[in-house]
Protein backbone atom coordinates (compact mmCIF):
# COMPACT_ATOMS: atom_id res chain seq x y z
CA UNK A 1 0.00 0.00 0.00
CA UNK A 2 1.24 3.41 -0.94
CA UNK A 3 0.54 6.76 0.62
CA UNK A 4 -3.03 7.94 0.93
CA UNK A 5 -4.45 10.83 -1.05
CA UNK A 6 -4.95 13.65 1.44
CA UNK A 7 -6.64 17.04 1.17
CA UNK A 8 -8.68 15.99 -1.82
CA UNK A 9 -11.06 18.69 -3.04
CA UNK A 10 -14.25 18.50 -5.05
CA UNK A 11 -14.18 20.91 -7.99
CA UNK A 12 -17.00 22.29 -10.09
CA UNK A 13 -17.30 23.09 -13.78
CA UNK A 14 -20.22 25.08 -15.14
CA UNK A 15 -21.12 25.26 -18.82
CA UNK A 16 -24.10 25.54 -21.19
CA UNK A 17 -25.14 28.94 -19.88
CA UNK A 18 -28.11 30.34 -21.82
CA UNK A 19 -28.47 30.93 -24.72
CA UNK A 20 -26.24 27.93 -25.50
CA UNK A 21 -28.03 25.43 -23.29
CA UNK A 22 -27.36 21.73 -23.40
CA UNK A 23 -29.93 19.86 -25.48
CA UNK A 24 -31.05 16.66 -23.80
CA UNK A 25 -32.09 13.41 -25.46
CA UNK A 26 -35.73 14.23 -24.74
CA UNK A 27 -35.32 17.42 -26.80
CA UNK A 28 -35.56 19.65 -23.72
CA UNK A 29 -32.89 22.24 -22.99
CA UNK A 30 -31.06 22.86 -19.76
CA UNK A 31 -28.50 25.41 -18.72
CA UNK A 32 -26.37 26.38 -17.04
CA UNK A 33 -25.13 22.92 -16.03
CA UNK A 34 -22.64 22.29 -13.25
CA UNK A 35 -20.72 19.04 -12.81
CA UNK A 36 -18.88 18.18 -9.60
CA UNK A 37 -15.63 16.30 -10.13
CA UNK A 38 -12.39 15.33 -8.46
CA UNK A 39 -8.98 14.54 -9.89
CA UNK A 40 -6.09 12.50 -8.51
CA UNK A 41 -2.54 12.24 -9.85
CA UNK A 42 -1.00 14.41 -12.54
CA UNK A 43 -1.90 14.80 -16.20
CA UNK A 44 1.22 14.06 -18.24
CA UNK A 45 2.61 16.37 -20.92
CA UNK A 46 0.93 14.73 -23.90
CA UNK A 47 -2.28 14.24 -21.90
CA UNK A 48 -2.30 10.53 -22.61
CA UNK A 49 -2.69 9.17 -19.07
CA UNK A 50 -6.23 10.29 -18.22
CA UNK A 51 -8.73 7.82 -16.80
CA UNK A 52 -12.37 8.77 -16.25
CA UNK A 53 -14.08 6.98 -13.35
CA UNK A 54 -17.87 6.84 -13.44
CA UNK A 55 -19.97 6.14 -10.39
CA UNK A 56 -23.08 4.09 -9.63
CA UNK A 57 -26.60 5.30 -8.76
CA UNK A 58 -25.91 6.69 -5.31
CA UNK A 59 -22.24 7.56 -5.85
CA UNK A 60 -20.57 10.94 -6.19
CA UNK A 61 -17.42 12.65 -7.43
CA UNK A 62 -15.53 11.78 -4.26
CA UNK A 63 -14.06 8.46 -5.40
CA UNK A 64 -10.74 8.44 -3.56
CA UNK A 65 -8.69 9.91 -0.76
CA UNK A 66 -9.82 12.10 2.10
CA UNK A 67 -11.37 15.54 2.15
CA UNK A 68 -9.62 17.87 4.56
CA UNK A 69 -10.38 16.79 8.13
CA UNK A 70 -12.62 13.95 6.96
CA UNK A 71 -12.24 10.44 8.42
CA UNK A 72 -14.18 8.68 5.65
CA UNK A 73 -12.45 8.07 2.33
CA UNK A 74 -13.99 8.16 -1.16
CA UNK A 75 -16.20 5.31 -2.40
CA UNK A 76 -13.49 3.55 -4.46
CA UNK A 77 -10.47 4.50 -2.34
CA UNK A 78 -9.33 0.88 -2.20
CA UNK A 79 -8.90 0.96 -6.00
CA UNK A 80 -7.62 4.49 -6.68
CA UNK A 81 -4.42 5.94 -5.22
CA UNK A 82 -0.65 5.57 -5.21
CA UNK A 83 0.27 1.96 -6.10
CA UNK A 84 -3.36 0.90 -6.19
CA UNK A 85 -5.19 -0.64 -9.19
CA UNK A 86 -5.65 2.82 -10.70
CA UNK A 87 -2.18 4.02 -9.78
CA UNK A 88 -2.17 7.77 -9.33
CA UNK A 89 1.63 7.80 -9.58
CA UNK A 90 1.13 6.82 -13.23
CA UNK A 91 -2.32 7.94 -14.22
CA UNK A 92 -4.42 11.08 -13.98
CA UNK A 93 -7.73 9.90 -12.58
CA UNK A 94 -10.89 11.98 -12.91
CA UNK A 95 -14.17 11.11 -11.23
CA UNK A 96 -17.22 12.97 -12.48
CA UNK A 97 -20.62 13.22 -10.83
CA UNK A 98 -23.71 12.97 -13.07
CA UNK A 99 -26.30 15.46 -14.26
CA UNK A 100 -29.49 14.83 -12.29
CA UNK A 101 -27.51 14.08 -9.13
CA UNK A 102 -27.52 15.83 -5.79
CA UNK A 103 -23.82 15.90 -4.92
CA UNK A 104 -22.82 19.23 -6.37
CA UNK A 105 -24.02 18.76 -9.93
CA UNK A 106 -27.13 20.25 -11.50
CA UNK A 107 -30.15 18.16 -10.57
CA UNK A 108 -33.74 18.43 -9.30
CA UNK A 109 -32.59 19.99 -6.01
CA UNK A 110 -30.70 22.77 -7.83
CA UNK A 111 -32.24 26.19 -8.22
CA UNK A 112 -34.03 26.71 -11.53
CA UNK A 113 -32.65 30.02 -12.84
CA UNK A 114 -36.01 30.78 -14.45
CA UNK A 115 -37.98 30.59 -11.21
CA UNK A 116 -35.41 31.14 -8.48
CA UNK A 117 -36.68 28.01 -6.66
CA UNK A 118 -35.48 24.38 -6.78
CA UNK A 119 -36.42 22.52 -9.98
CA UNK A 120 -38.20 19.62 -8.30
CA UNK A 121 -40.18 17.83 -11.00
CA UNK A 122 -39.63 20.79 -13.35
CA UNK A 123 -36.21 19.26 -13.90
CA UNK A 124 -36.12 17.58 -17.32
CA UNK A 125 -35.74 13.81 -17.63
CA UNK A 126 -32.07 12.96 -18.16
CA UNK A 127 -30.61 9.78 -19.71
CA UNK A 128 -27.28 7.98 -19.50
CA UNK A 129 -26.50 9.54 -22.90
CA UNK A 130 -27.09 12.99 -21.37
CA UNK A 131 -24.84 12.17 -18.39
CA UNK A 132 -22.05 11.24 -20.80
CA UNK A 133 -22.64 14.25 -23.02
CA UNK A 134 -22.29 16.53 -19.98
CA UNK A 135 -19.08 14.75 -18.92
CA UNK A 136 -17.66 15.31 -22.43
CA UNK A 137 -17.91 19.07 -21.76
CA UNK A 138 -15.85 18.54 -18.61
CA UNK A 139 -13.21 16.43 -20.38
CA UNK A 140 -12.94 19.07 -23.16
CA UNK A 141 -12.58 21.73 -20.47
CA UNK A 142 -9.69 19.76 -18.94
CA UNK A 143 -8.02 19.80 -22.37
CA UNK A 144 -8.10 16.04 -22.85
CA UNK A 145 -8.88 14.83 -26.37
CA UNK A 146 -8.46 11.12 -25.74
CA UNK A 147 -9.08 9.24 -22.51
CA UNK A 148 -6.80 6.29 -21.87
CA UNK A 149 -9.68 4.56 -20.14
CA UNK A 150 -13.26 5.00 -18.98
CA UNK A 151 -14.28 2.75 -16.11
CA UNK A 152 -17.25 2.15 -13.87
CA UNK A 153 -19.36 -0.40 -12.07
CA UNK A 154 -23.13 -0.80 -12.36
CA UNK A 155 -24.49 2.52 -13.71
CA UNK A 156 -20.84 3.55 -14.08
CA UNK A 157 -20.35 0.60 -16.43
CA UNK A 158 -23.34 1.73 -18.50
CA UNK A 159 -21.82 5.22 -18.76
CA UNK A 160 -18.49 3.68 -19.78
CA UNK A 161 -20.24 1.72 -22.57
CA UNK A 162 -22.11 4.84 -23.65
CA UNK A 163 -18.84 6.82 -23.76
CA UNK A 164 -17.33 4.34 -26.25
CA UNK A 165 -20.41 4.64 -28.50
CA UNK A 166 -21.12 8.39 -28.16
CA UNK A 167 -17.49 9.50 -28.48
CA UNK A 168 -15.54 6.69 -30.19
CA UNK A 169 -12.60 8.98 -31.00
CA UNK A 170 -12.20 10.03 -27.37
CA UNK A 171 -11.79 6.63 -25.70
CA UNK A 172 -8.89 4.15 -25.99
CA UNK A 173 -10.33 1.55 -23.65
CA UNK A 174 -13.24 0.80 -21.34
CA UNK A 175 -13.52 -1.30 -18.20
CA UNK A 176 -17.16 -2.25 -17.73
CA UNK A 177 -17.91 -3.82 -14.35
CA UNK A 178 -21.14 -5.55 -13.28
CA UNK A 179 -23.20 -3.75 -15.90
CA UNK A 180 -25.51 -4.43 -18.82
CA UNK A 181 -26.59 -2.89 -22.12
CA UNK A 182 -30.19 -2.59 -20.97
CA UNK A 183 -32.32 -3.33 -17.93
CA UNK A 184 -34.47 -6.43 -17.92
CA UNK A 185 -38.09 -6.32 -16.72
CA UNK A 186 -36.86 -7.55 -13.32
CA UNK A 187 -34.35 -4.71 -12.99
CA UNK A 188 -36.95 -2.12 -14.02
CA UNK A 189 -39.40 -3.67 -11.56
CA UNK A 190 -37.07 -3.23 -8.57
CA UNK A 191 -36.49 0.41 -9.53
CA UNK A 192 -40.21 1.01 -9.93
CA UNK A 193 -41.00 -0.36 -6.47
CA UNK A 194 -38.35 1.97 -5.04
CA UNK A 195 -39.78 4.95 -6.94
CA UNK A 196 -43.28 4.10 -5.75
CA UNK A 197 -42.02 4.01 -2.16
CA UNK A 198 -40.73 7.57 -2.55
CA UNK A 199 -43.82 8.88 -4.31
CA UNK A 200 -46.17 7.20 -1.81
CA UNK A 201 -44.58 9.16 1.04
CA UNK A 202 -46.98 12.04 1.85
CA UNK A 203 -43.95 14.27 2.44
CA UNK A 204 -42.91 13.84 -1.18
CA UNK A 205 -45.56 16.45 -2.19
CA UNK A 206 -45.24 15.88 -5.93
CA UNK A 207 -41.52 16.48 -5.62
CA UNK A 208 -41.96 19.94 -4.13
CA UNK A 209 -40.59 19.34 -0.65
CA UNK A 210 -37.46 21.52 -0.64
CA UNK A 211 -37.31 23.70 2.44
CA UNK A 212 -39.96 21.49 4.05
CA UNK A 213 -39.96 17.95 5.45
CA UNK A 214 -38.16 15.59 3.07
CA UNK A 215 -39.80 12.25 2.13
CA UNK A 216 -37.39 10.34 4.33
CA UNK A 217 -39.54 7.28 4.90
CA UNK A 218 -40.02 6.73 1.17
CA UNK A 219 -36.38 7.25 0.30
CA UNK A 220 -35.34 5.02 3.17
CA UNK A 221 -37.51 2.15 1.86
CA UNK A 222 -36.13 2.74 -1.65
CA UNK A 223 -32.62 2.36 -0.28
CA UNK A 224 -33.59 -0.79 1.65
CA UNK A 225 -34.86 -2.40 -1.55
CA UNK A 226 -31.61 -1.38 -3.25
CA UNK A 227 -29.51 -2.95 -0.53
CA UNK A 228 -31.32 -6.28 -0.79
CA UNK A 229 -30.56 -6.41 -4.51
CA UNK A 230 -26.90 -5.43 -4.01
CA UNK A 231 -26.17 -8.38 -1.71
CA UNK A 232 -26.27 -12.11 -2.42
CA UNK A 233 -28.32 -14.64 -0.50
CA UNK A 234 -25.10 -16.15 0.84
CA UNK A 235 -23.50 -12.85 1.87
CA UNK A 236 -26.68 -11.89 3.76
CA UNK A 237 -26.83 -15.28 5.40
CA UNK A 238 -23.19 -15.01 6.41
CA UNK A 239 -23.54 -11.48 7.74
CA UNK A 240 -26.89 -11.77 9.52
CA UNK A 241 -28.44 -15.21 9.32
CA UNK A 242 -31.35 -15.16 11.76
CA UNK A 243 -29.36 -13.41 14.48
CA UNK A 244 -31.39 -11.17 16.76
CA UNK A 245 -30.44 -7.57 17.23
CA UNK A 246 -29.62 -6.62 20.80
CA UNK A 247 -32.16 -9.01 22.32
CA UNK A 248 -32.23 -12.59 23.50
CA UNK A 249 -35.67 -13.60 22.29
CA UNK A 250 -38.38 -12.51 19.87
CA UNK A 251 -40.40 -9.53 21.11
CA UNK A 252 -43.68 -10.38 19.40
CA UNK A 253 -44.15 -6.89 18.02
CA UNK A 254 -42.98 -4.93 14.96
CA UNK A 255 -39.81 -3.43 16.35
CA UNK A 256 -36.74 -4.79 14.60
CA UNK A 257 -36.03 -8.27 15.95
CA UNK A 258 -33.50 -9.46 13.42
CA UNK A 259 -30.10 -8.00 12.68
CA UNK A 260 -30.91 -7.83 8.99
CA UNK A 261 -33.87 -5.57 9.79
CA UNK A 262 -31.69 -3.29 11.88
CA UNK A 263 -29.10 -3.18 9.14
CA UNK A 264 -31.61 -2.23 6.45
CA UNK A 265 -33.20 0.43 8.66
CA UNK A 266 -29.80 1.88 9.43
CA UNK A 267 -28.81 1.92 5.75
CA UNK A 268 -32.11 3.55 4.85
CA UNK A 269 -31.91 6.20 7.57
CA UNK A 270 -28.31 7.15 6.89
CA UNK A 271 -28.98 7.36 3.13
CA UNK A 272 -31.66 9.99 3.72
CA UNK A 273 -29.00 12.22 5.26
CA UNK A 274 -26.90 12.20 2.13
CA UNK A 275 -29.18 11.77 -0.87
CA UNK A 276 -32.08 13.60 -2.48
CA UNK A 277 -35.26 11.59 -3.16
CA UNK A 278 -35.97 13.33 -6.48
CA UNK A 279 -32.43 12.56 -7.68
CA UNK A 280 -33.15 8.91 -6.92
CA UNK A 281 -36.27 9.09 -9.11
CA UNK A 282 -34.43 10.78 -11.98
CA UNK A 283 -31.31 8.63 -11.96
CA UNK A 284 -33.16 5.33 -11.55
CA UNK A 285 -35.37 6.35 -14.49
CA UNK A 286 -32.24 7.07 -16.56
CA UNK A 287 -31.05 3.54 -15.79
CA UNK A 288 -34.36 2.03 -16.90
CA UNK A 289 -34.35 4.10 -20.10
CA UNK A 290 -30.79 3.04 -20.97
CA UNK A 291 -30.70 0.75 -24.00
CA UNK A 292 -27.47 0.66 -25.96
CA UNK A 293 -29.13 -1.31 -28.75
CA UNK A 294 -32.06 1.07 -29.09
CA UNK A 295 -31.19 2.12 -32.63
CA UNK A 296 -30.40 -1.18 -34.27
CA UNK A 297 -28.77 -4.31 -32.97
CA UNK A 298 -26.02 -4.36 -30.38
CA UNK A 299 -23.37 -5.59 -32.83
CA UNK A 300 -23.87 -2.71 -35.24
CA UNK A 301 -23.94 -0.20 -32.35
CA UNK A 302 -20.71 -1.52 -30.83
CA UNK A 303 -19.06 -1.69 -34.27
CA UNK A 304 -18.77 2.11 -34.05
CA UNK A 305 -16.50 2.04 -31.01
CA UNK A 306 -12.73 2.20 -31.34
CA UNK A 307 -11.99 1.06 -27.80
CA UNK A 308 -10.54 -2.09 -26.32
CA UNK A 309 -12.70 -3.61 -23.62
CA UNK A 310 -12.27 -5.36 -20.28
CA UNK A 311 -15.61 -6.73 -19.07
CA UNK A 312 -15.82 -7.84 -15.44
CA UNK A 313 -18.67 -9.65 -13.71
CA UNK A 314 -19.09 -11.51 -10.41
CA UNK A 315 -20.42 -15.02 -9.82
CA UNK A 316 -22.95 -14.10 -7.12
CA UNK A 317 -24.26 -10.87 -8.71
CA UNK A 318 -27.92 -11.60 -9.43
CA UNK A 319 -28.90 -7.95 -10.07
CA UNK A 320 -26.50 -7.62 -13.03
CA UNK A 321 -25.73 -11.30 -13.66
CA UNK A 322 -22.77 -12.53 -15.68
CA UNK A 323 -25.03 -13.45 -18.63
CA UNK A 324 -25.58 -9.73 -19.19
CA UNK A 325 -21.81 -9.18 -19.32
CA UNK A 326 -21.44 -12.11 -21.70
CA UNK A 327 -24.02 -10.49 -23.98
CA UNK A 328 -21.69 -7.48 -24.30
CA UNK A 329 -18.68 -9.75 -24.84
CA UNK A 330 -20.46 -11.71 -27.56
CA UNK A 331 -21.46 -8.57 -29.46
CA UNK A 332 -17.91 -7.18 -29.18
CA UNK A 333 -16.45 -10.43 -30.49
CA UNK A 334 -18.82 -10.52 -33.45
CA UNK A 335 -17.97 -6.90 -34.27
CA UNK A 336 -14.28 -7.80 -34.16
CA UNK A 337 -13.28 -5.69 -31.14
CA UNK A 338 -10.46 -6.43 -28.75
CA UNK A 339 -12.11 -7.76 -25.61
CA UNK A 340 -11.07 -9.55 -22.45
CA UNK A 341 -13.63 -10.74 -19.96
CA UNK A 342 -13.56 -12.33 -16.54
CA UNK A 343 -16.17 -13.62 -14.13
CA UNK A 344 -14.59 -13.12 -10.71
CA UNK A 345 -15.57 -15.60 -8.04
CA UNK A 346 -17.18 -13.62 -5.25
CA UNK A 347 -19.79 -14.02 -2.56
CA UNK A 348 -20.67 -10.33 -2.32
CA UNK A 349 -23.35 -10.08 -5.01
CA UNK A 350 -23.61 -6.81 -6.93
CA UNK A 351 -21.68 -5.02 -4.15
CA UNK A 352 -18.62 -6.99 -5.27
CA UNK A 353 -17.50 -4.20 -7.61
CA UNK A 354 -16.97 -2.04 -4.52
CA UNK A 355 -15.53 -4.63 -2.15
CA UNK A 356 -14.01 -7.51 -4.17
CA UNK A 357 -10.70 -5.71 -4.55
CA UNK A 358 -8.25 -8.58 -4.91
CA UNK A 359 -9.33 -9.90 -8.31
CA UNK A 360 -9.96 -6.45 -9.77
CA UNK A 361 -6.58 -5.23 -8.52
CA UNK A 362 -4.93 -8.22 -10.18
CA UNK A 363 -6.44 -7.79 -13.62
CA UNK A 364 -6.75 -4.02 -14.04
CA UNK A 365 -3.09 -2.86 -13.71
CA UNK A 366 -1.61 -5.14 -16.42
CA UNK A 367 -4.60 -4.42 -18.65
CA UNK A 368 -4.11 -0.65 -18.35
CA UNK A 369 -0.36 -1.09 -18.83
CA UNK A 370 -0.94 -2.84 -22.18
CA UNK A 371 -3.32 -0.12 -23.39
CA UNK A 372 -1.00 2.64 -22.15
CA UNK A 373 2.00 1.11 -23.97
CA UNK A 374 -0.01 0.74 -27.16
CA UNK A 375 -1.10 4.38 -27.17
CA UNK A 376 2.50 5.59 -26.92
Amino acid sequence: MGKELLNVKTQYYTFAAPPSEMILKSGEKIGPVTLAYETYGTLNKDKSNAILVLHALSGDAHAAGFHDGDKKSGWWDNMIGPNKAFDTNKYFVICSNVIGGCKGSTGPSSVNPKTGTPYGLQFPIVTVEDMVKAQKHLIDHLGITKLLNVVGGSMGGMQALQWTVSFPEAVSSAIVIAASVRHTAQQIAFNEVARQAIMADPDWQGGDYYGKTVPSRGLSVARMIGHITYMSKDSMEEKFGRKLKGKKSLTYDFSSDFEVEGYLRHQGDSFVQRFDANSWLYISKALDYFNLAERGNLVSVLSKTKASFLIISFTSDWLYPSEQSKEIVKALKISGKDVTDIEINSNYGHDAFLVEIEGQSKIIPPYLERIFKRTK
Binding site: K333, I334, Y367
Partner: protein
Protein backbone atom coordinates in the same frame (compact mmCIF):
# COMPACT_ATOMS: atom_id res chain seq x y z
CA UNK B 1 10.84 -24.11 -25.61
CA UNK B 2 8.40 -27.00 -25.22
CA UNK B 3 8.58 -29.26 -28.28
CA UNK B 4 4.81 -29.17 -28.88
CA UNK B 5 4.97 -25.33 -28.90
CA UNK B 6 7.86 -25.48 -31.36
CA UNK B 7 5.89 -27.74 -33.70
CA UNK B 8 2.82 -25.49 -33.48
CA UNK B 9 4.98 -22.45 -34.24
CA UNK B 10 6.29 -24.29 -37.31
CA UNK B 11 2.72 -25.05 -38.44
CA UNK B 12 1.75 -21.37 -38.32
CA UNK B 13 2.56 -18.77 -40.98
CA UNK B 14 3.80 -15.41 -39.69
CA UNK B 15 1.51 -12.32 -39.44
CA UNK B 16 -1.63 -14.39 -38.99
CA UNK B 17 -4.59 -14.23 -36.64
CA UNK B 18 -4.95 -17.00 -34.07
CA UNK B 19 -7.58 -18.24 -31.58
CA UNK B 20 -6.22 -20.48 -28.80
CA UNK B 21 -8.95 -22.59 -27.17
CA UNK B 22 -7.94 -23.60 -23.66
CA UNK B 23 -5.04 -21.14 -23.73
CA UNK B 24 -4.02 -21.61 -20.06
CA UNK B 25 -1.72 -18.78 -18.96
CA UNK B 26 -1.38 -17.53 -22.55
CA UNK B 27 2.24 -18.64 -22.97
CA UNK B 28 1.70 -20.17 -26.44
CA UNK B 29 -0.12 -17.04 -27.62
CA UNK B 30 2.69 -14.85 -26.23
CA UNK B 31 5.21 -16.88 -28.21
CA UNK B 32 3.14 -16.58 -31.39
CA UNK B 33 2.86 -12.83 -30.93
CA UNK B 34 6.59 -12.46 -30.22
CA UNK B 35 8.10 -14.97 -32.66
CA UNK B 36 5.59 -14.97 -35.50
CA UNK B 37 4.13 -11.49 -35.23
CA UNK B 38 0.66 -13.02 -34.89
CA UNK B 39 -2.38 -11.36 -33.41
CA UNK B 40 -4.59 -13.49 -31.27
CA UNK B 41 -6.94 -14.14 -28.45
CA UNK B 42 -7.70 -17.04 -26.15
CA UNK B 43 -10.49 -18.84 -24.36
CA UNK B 44 -9.88 -20.22 -20.89
CA UNK B 45 -12.17 -21.58 -18.18
CA UNK B 46 -9.92 -21.16 -15.13
CA UNK B 47 -10.17 -17.77 -13.38
CA UNK B 48 -6.58 -17.79 -12.08
CA UNK B 49 -5.28 -18.44 -15.62
CA UNK B 50 -7.18 -15.38 -16.88
CA UNK B 51 -5.14 -13.15 -14.54
CA UNK B 52 -1.93 -14.71 -15.89
CA UNK B 53 -3.06 -14.17 -19.49
CA UNK B 54 -3.66 -10.48 -18.84
CA UNK B 55 -0.25 -10.23 -17.11
CA UNK B 56 1.18 -11.78 -20.28
CA UNK B 57 -0.54 -9.08 -22.33
CA UNK B 58 -3.06 -11.45 -23.89
CA UNK B 59 -6.73 -10.77 -24.64
CA UNK B 60 -8.76 -13.66 -23.33
CA UNK B 61 -12.34 -14.71 -22.80
CA UNK B 62 -13.36 -16.43 -19.58
CA UNK B 63 -15.62 -19.36 -20.42
CA UNK B 64 -16.29 -22.77 -21.84
CA UNK B 65 -14.82 -23.72 -25.22
CA UNK B 66 -18.13 -25.35 -26.21
CA UNK B 67 -20.13 -22.13 -25.89
CA UNK B 68 -17.50 -19.44 -26.57
CA UNK B 69 -16.82 -20.77 -30.06
CA UNK B 70 -20.35 -19.91 -31.13
CA UNK B 71 -19.55 -16.20 -30.66
CA UNK B 72 -17.26 -15.97 -33.68
CA UNK B 73 -18.16 -15.39 -37.30
CA UNK B 74 -17.07 -17.77 -40.11
CA UNK B 75 -13.36 -17.92 -41.01
CA UNK B 76 -12.63 -15.12 -38.58
CA UNK B 77 -9.22 -16.62 -37.70
CA UNK B 78 -6.37 -17.97 -39.80
CA UNK B 79 -5.78 -20.66 -37.18
CA UNK B 80 -7.71 -22.12 -34.28
CA UNK B 81 -5.58 -24.05 -31.78
CA UNK B 82 -6.83 -26.89 -29.59
CA UNK B 83 -3.67 -27.98 -27.82
CA UNK B 84 -4.28 -30.56 -25.09
CA UNK B 85 -7.80 -29.26 -24.62
CA UNK B 86 -9.93 -31.36 -26.98
CA UNK B 87 -9.94 -34.35 -24.62
CA UNK B 88 -11.49 -32.14 -21.93
CA UNK B 89 -14.52 -30.84 -23.82
CA UNK B 90 -18.01 -32.28 -23.59
CA UNK B 91 -18.72 -32.31 -27.34
CA UNK B 92 -15.39 -32.82 -29.15
CA UNK B 93 -16.91 -33.41 -32.58
CA UNK B 94 -18.93 -30.23 -32.38
CA UNK B 95 -15.88 -28.30 -31.13
CA UNK B 96 -13.67 -29.49 -34.01
CA UNK B 97 -16.29 -28.73 -36.64
CA UNK B 98 -17.01 -25.32 -35.07
CA UNK B 99 -13.26 -24.61 -34.96
CA UNK B 100 -13.07 -25.45 -38.65
CA UNK B 101 -15.92 -23.02 -39.24
CA UNK B 102 -14.34 -20.03 -37.43
CA UNK B 103 -10.77 -20.85 -38.48
CA UNK B 104 -9.31 -21.37 -41.94
CA UNK B 105 -7.06 -24.03 -40.45
CA UNK B 106 -7.16 -25.86 -37.13
CA UNK B 107 -4.29 -27.21 -35.05
CA UNK B 108 -5.07 -30.07 -32.68
CA UNK B 109 -2.70 -31.56 -30.10
CA UNK B 110 -3.92 -34.72 -28.39
CA UNK B 111 -2.45 -37.06 -25.79
CA UNK B 112 -2.14 -40.61 -27.16
CA UNK B 113 -3.94 -42.93 -24.78
CA UNK B 114 -2.60 -45.98 -26.65
CA UNK B 115 1.06 -45.36 -25.94
CA UNK B 116 2.98 -48.57 -25.19
CA UNK B 117 3.27 -47.77 -21.44
CA UNK B 118 -0.49 -47.47 -21.19
CA UNK B 119 -1.04 -50.66 -23.15
CA UNK B 120 1.30 -52.55 -20.81
CA UNK B 121 -0.55 -51.33 -17.74
CA UNK B 122 -3.89 -52.42 -19.12
CA UNK B 123 -2.56 -55.76 -20.35
CA UNK B 124 -0.35 -56.87 -17.47
CA UNK B 125 -1.74 -55.03 -14.47
CA UNK B 126 -5.37 -54.95 -15.55
CA UNK B 127 -5.62 -51.32 -14.45
CA UNK B 128 -6.56 -48.08 -16.14
CA UNK B 129 -3.20 -46.53 -17.06
CA UNK B 130 -1.53 -43.76 -15.10
CA UNK B 131 1.60 -42.55 -16.91
CA UNK B 132 3.93 -39.58 -16.75
CA UNK B 133 2.00 -37.85 -19.54
CA UNK B 134 -1.39 -38.92 -18.23
CA UNK B 135 -0.83 -38.71 -14.49
CA UNK B 136 -4.46 -38.76 -13.37
CA UNK B 137 -6.38 -41.46 -11.57
CA UNK B 138 -9.79 -42.37 -12.99
CA UNK B 139 -11.57 -40.42 -10.23
CA UNK B 140 -9.77 -37.10 -10.59
CA UNK B 141 -8.93 -36.82 -14.28
CA UNK B 142 -9.99 -33.64 -16.10
CA UNK B 143 -10.01 -35.70 -19.29
CA UNK B 144 -13.42 -36.66 -20.56
CA UNK B 145 -12.33 -38.32 -23.82
CA UNK B 146 -9.77 -41.05 -24.34
CA UNK B 147 -8.41 -41.42 -27.84
CA UNK B 148 -5.32 -42.51 -29.75
CA UNK B 149 -3.49 -40.98 -32.69
CA UNK B 150 -5.07 -43.67 -34.85
CA UNK B 151 -8.56 -42.87 -33.54
CA UNK B 152 -8.11 -39.21 -34.35
CA UNK B 153 -6.96 -39.87 -37.90
CA UNK B 154 -9.92 -42.19 -38.41
CA UNK B 155 -12.22 -39.44 -37.12
CA UNK B 156 -10.77 -36.94 -39.60
CA UNK B 157 -11.20 -39.35 -42.51
CA UNK B 158 -14.83 -40.06 -41.56
CA UNK B 159 -15.64 -36.35 -41.29
CA UNK B 160 -14.00 -35.11 -44.49
CA UNK B 161 -11.23 -33.29 -42.62
CA UNK B 162 -7.88 -33.06 -44.39
CA UNK B 163 -4.72 -33.58 -42.35
CA UNK B 164 -2.23 -31.19 -43.96
CA UNK B 165 0.63 -31.90 -41.57
CA UNK B 166 1.13 -34.19 -38.60
CA UNK B 167 3.84 -34.76 -36.02
CA UNK B 168 4.15 -37.15 -33.12
CA UNK B 169 6.34 -36.72 -30.06
CA UNK B 170 7.50 -38.57 -26.96
CA UNK B 171 9.75 -37.29 -24.20
CA UNK B 172 10.67 -34.15 -26.12
CA UNK B 173 11.66 -36.09 -29.23
CA UNK B 174 9.98 -36.40 -32.62
CA UNK B 175 8.72 -39.94 -33.31
CA UNK B 176 8.58 -40.97 -36.96
CA UNK B 177 8.01 -44.71 -36.59
CA UNK B 178 5.04 -46.61 -35.13
CA UNK B 179 3.66 -43.37 -33.72
CA UNK B 180 0.45 -44.86 -32.29
CA UNK B 181 2.60 -47.18 -30.14
CA UNK B 182 5.60 -44.99 -29.31
CA UNK B 183 4.38 -41.39 -29.23
CA UNK B 184 2.53 -39.91 -26.29
CA UNK B 185 1.29 -36.89 -28.19
CA UNK B 186 0.06 -36.24 -31.72
CA UNK B 187 -0.13 -32.81 -33.37
CA UNK B 188 -2.18 -32.14 -36.50
CA UNK B 189 -2.72 -29.26 -38.91
CA UNK B 190 -6.25 -29.62 -40.29
CA UNK B 191 -8.44 -28.11 -42.92
CA UNK B 192 -11.95 -28.79 -44.13
CA UNK B 193 -13.19 -27.69 -47.48
CA UNK B 194 -16.92 -27.10 -47.39
CA UNK B 195 -18.54 -27.56 -50.78
Amino acid sequence: MRLDYKIILDFIEPNTNVLDLGCGDGSLLSLLIKEKNCTGTGVEIDEQSIYKCVENGISVSHGDIDTELLDYTDKRFDYVILNESLQQVLYPKKVILESLRVGKKVIVGIPNFCHIDARFQIFFEGRVPVTKELPYEWFDTPNLRFLSIKDFKYFCRKNGITIIKEKAIANDKIINFKTNLLANMGLFLLEKIYV
